[in-house]
């Protein structure tokens, strides 16, 4: 029997039992569609998060108070003392590192803003002039914080778009006096919308000089310090220089953590990549179930067509011919199921993208290839046993079966 004839014979056999074939194709299709859609969702989430972090700026180093234990064991790890706080002094000192371009100390807290009898709870961010360029923000009106000594508590504020709209409506905001907590501040600018990022919404933010914020919250510690290196290549040397400076300022002990965007991105990329893989694995279980279904359906087909198999043997079909015919049939059904499932999966991913436009829910290539290969593989694998059983049937008994 030529391969072309085997193929044609198997196709006719599959089409000869439409209900059985339809159900099997559907089972396989659901498995493949599940893999395609769930990986699209998982990978979409990964891309979304990675995209969010990428908007931070590539040359950024974030300095946090306290030693991150995953950084390894050092002498300091064994001394149980609360870590020293980060101060504005630290931030100013970091500016001396030659590989550093910009430094922005951050102090964050919640407070109330009031103007003309209107009162609103909001987030106050204390920082310095460099922050604007460091985060690539833009001004809608007026100016950002003045470039001045980090310790100077000027009574000025920059507000977000939404705050501006709520407090001032159609009136001009720049130049007006507002009250934030107990401080009276002059509005000197309005931030342009930049969307969500790192848990801060620039639209609902008031930015004040870092010393002003520290006075407001009655503290002299910092939430963190953001540092921008001169270039991407300068990131590693800059990190070393920062560590040296900070170590010097804290009697030789480095009880701070330095995070680069690369590291954060890498971590998230890994976590969400693993998540996608796990989801794909769970979806693949449905493929295994489909495979078992393929086996059962093919076993039923062998029983149903016992007489036919006996006849083919009487007509001179070899065991190989019969095995090939049944295996081809199983492979064809799986292939059809995989194709339908791929279509359904892509349709589902498209629906997700339509429903959640922020989520780039495209199924990754590897998942699509893996799903199709698994579908075909399971079909052939689970088709092998029924095909072998068919090939081994005793022709006399097979012919006697009615």
């Amino acid at each position: 029997m030529t391969p072309a004839d085997t193929f044609r014979f198997a196709t006719r056999a599959a089409l000869g039992y439409p209900l059985r074939t339809g159900l099997m194709v559907l089972a396989m299709a659901i498995g493949v569609a599940a893999v395609v859609m769930l990986t699209a969702l998982g990978d979409g989430a990964r891309r979304y998060v990675v995209g969010e972090f990428a908007s931070l700026g590539a040359n950024l180093i974030i300095v946090l108070p306290g030693r991150n234990e995953t950084g390894g064991v050092n002498a300091g790890s064994f001394i149980t003392s609360t870590p020293r706080d980060l101060t504005v002094g630290d931030a100013a000192a970091l500016l001396r590192a030659p590989m550093v371009r910009r430094v922005a100390p951050l102090s964050v807290g919640n407070s109330e803003i009031s103007f003309g009898g209107k009162l609103r709870e909001l987030m106050v961010l204390g920082t310095t002039a460099d922050f604007l360029e460091l985060r690539n923000y833009r001004m809608a009106q007026g100016q950002f914080l003045p470039r001045e000594d980090f310790g100077r508590a000027s009574a000025v504020a920059v507000i977000g778009q939404k705050i501006r709209d709520e407090l001032f409506g159609a009136e001009a905001a720049v130049g007006r006096m507002i009250r934030v907590g107990d401080a009276r501040l002059r509005v000197i600018g309005v931030l342009d919308s930049a969307g969500q990022g790192l848990g801060m919404n620039t639209d609902e933010l008031v930015v004040v000089p870092v010393a002003t914020a520290q006075n407001m919250f009655n503290t002299n510690t910092l939430f963190r310090i953001m540092v921008e290196a001169r270039s991407r290549e300068a990131l590693a040397p800059a990190q070393r220089q920062l560590e040296e400076i900070l170590q010097m300022r804290r009697e030789g002990e480095l009880d701070v953590t330095l995070i680069t965007q690369d590291a954060v991105l890498g971590t998230f990329d890994r976590i969400l990549g693993a998540l996608t893989l796990a989801v794909a694995g769970i979806a693949a279980i449905s493929l295994a179930v489909a495979g078992i279904l393929v086996m059962n359906v093919m076993l039923v087909a062998v029983t149903q067509r016992t007489g036919e198999i006996g006849l083919l043997k009487a007509l001179g079909a070899s065991g190989h011919d019969i095995r090939a015919a049944f295996l081809t049939e199983a492979a064809l059904l799986s292939l059809a199921g995989a194709a339908v499932g791929y279509g359904l999966g892509q349709l589902g991913a498209w629906a997700i993208r339509l429903a959640y436009p922020v989520l780039p829910a495209w199924p990754p290539d590897w998942a699509v290839i893996a799903a199709l290969a698994t579908a075909l593989g399971t079909g052939i694998l689970f088709g092998a046993l029924p095909a072998r059983r068919a090939a081994r049937l005793d022709p006399v008994q097979a012919l006697a079966k009615r």
């Binding site: 029997m1 030529t2 006719r12 043997k313 007509l315 001179g316």
Partner: protein
């Protein structure tokens, strides 16, 4: 050298504890071109003998030489090749593949032999014509009458031009008139030189054969030859 030489054939079926001696000490020669009827009561081993002759079954003891070659020792794939090229089967229940048309059913042996679709079509077309099935070529078995079905089955059994035709009660499922037609068809094929071995319960049909084998309890009881080929 006879076409078929059976020597001391034994076939024993084991069902649990009991053993059924379906064929015992069977020795038999059949020449090429003979017309043989196998008769006997139910359970006497007629079908078992035919399956053995058709290489669908193996004896437990004894030798079967087909055209001088000992075929009992062949591998199952080698036996399949012999069935494909030298043997045609006709069954009581036709055994047509229900989803295939008459033409496709007839083409099955050619397909198994790996013949090209083109050549297949020609050969099948000729067979359809010879068996008066021209107008039924694209009908499925369930759209055919019993006689037409058996004609398709015979066309299929002979399309490879086998050396022998084995028929197990070929008229068993047909009415008298149609049975006659089918019998004539088989006899016409025998007249062109194909060995014809028919298992039958019908003494009329058996009487038409040139040689009658009577089986009883797995053994050959009687081997009758007509003194000379009857004029039909």
């Amino acid at each position: 050298m006879a076409q078929i030489e059976l020597e001391g054939i034994e076939r024993i079926f084991t069902l649990g504890d009991s053993k059924v001696h379906a064929l015992r000490a069977l020795s038999l020669n059949i020449e090429a071109g003979e017309y043989v009827a196998v008769m006997g009561p139910s359970g006497s081993g007629k079908s078992t003998l035919l399956n053995l002759l058709g290489l669908l079954d193996r004896p437990d003891a004894g030798h079967y030489r087909l055209e001088g070659r000992d075929v009992t020792t062949l591998s199952s794939d080698e036996q399949a090749a012999v069935r494909r090229t030298r043997i045609g089967f006709v069954f009581q229940s036709f055994h047509l593949v229900p989803r295939l048309t008459a033409a496709e059913n007839i083409a099955l042996p050619l397909m198994l032999a790996g013949m090209s679709a083109e050549e297949r079509k020609q050969r099948v077309g000729r067979a359809l014509h010879d068996f008066g099935l021209d107008s039924r070529a694209n009908h499925r078995p369930d759209e055919l009458s019993g006689g037409q079905r058996q004609r398709v089955a015979i066309a299929r059994a002979t399309i490879m031009q086998p050396a022998m035709l084995l028929a197990d009660e070929p008229t068993g499922n047909l009415d008298r008139q149609t049975g006659q037609e089918v019998t004539s068809l088989l006899e016409a094929l025998n007249a062109t030189g194909t060995t014809l071995i028919v298992v039958t319960h019908d003494p009329n049909m058996g009487g038409r054969a040139h040689r009658q084998l009577f089986m009883e309890d797995g053994a050959l009881k009687q081997d009758l030859r007509a003194p000379s080929p009857r004029i039909r």
